[in-house]
Symmetry: C2
Subunit: 130 residues, 2 copies
């Protein structure tokens, strides 16, 4: 069976539209660059789709493995507690999804963290403002 | 007078240590790479220093201009409302700071936003997990 990777990009969500816009655009960039990867977005608060709806969105895509990636700068309560509960992850951040009647592995990724790429982007934003 | 740029890196803050750790590390990367720039961090919630304390931290550094950069993925209420109020910014995102008895310009930068660099980082986090 051909392996087909899914990415569940998890956003914080917001009452304002900006978080959803940014997370969706990031997901679109990934999908455009990696055309064999299936990318879906889900949100923790106020924005839709929810995580559950996002997971349903993998139906019919043939994904054989999914990485759940928090599109958050840093870890926090959503990442340490809420998302693992919703996704029924074990202590190692592993779980399964039922997609089209098949059980496939689900792996939990780390948030963005303090990468030098982000430092460069913060510096660029400062230069743009000055 | 020699120009000396300051960057006020504004983090969300959290009851957990991770947001402060990430924002502080990002600020350290900028300071290491741009040694003529003065970088200070301040937080909106739960973490210290506050924005006010961070601004006091520019005292004695000789900064002549400061960019306030929200180290947030996307805009939200802190960015559209709270930070402009605390920094007394005008409609164009401009203001001033009083540092060592001098009035210097303060410019408000955009948050990170949906940059392709971040999409690449999300994809890398997915690969690490799979």
């Amino acid at each position: 069976m051909t392996e087909r990777i899914g990415i569940l990009a998890i956003g914080h969500g917001s009452k304002l539209p900006y978080n959803k816009e940014v997370v969706t655009q990031i997901a679109d960039y990934i999908a455009q660059k990696h055309t064999n990867v299936v990318v879906r977005t889900g949100f923790m608060e106020n924005s839709e789709p929810t995580l559950e709806e996002a997971i349903e969105g993998f139906s019919g895509t043939g994904v054989t493995k999914v990485a759940a990636v928090p599109v958050f700068l840093a870890s926090g309560v959503h990442i340490t507690k809420d998302i693992p509960e919703i996704l029924s992850l074990d202590e190692n951040g592993c779980g399964t999804l039922e997609i089209d009647g098949k059980t496939i592995p689900l792996c939990y990724a780390k948030p963005l963290g303090a990468d030098e790429l982000i430092a460069d982007l913060v510096f660029k934003r400062a230069q743009e403002a000055l």
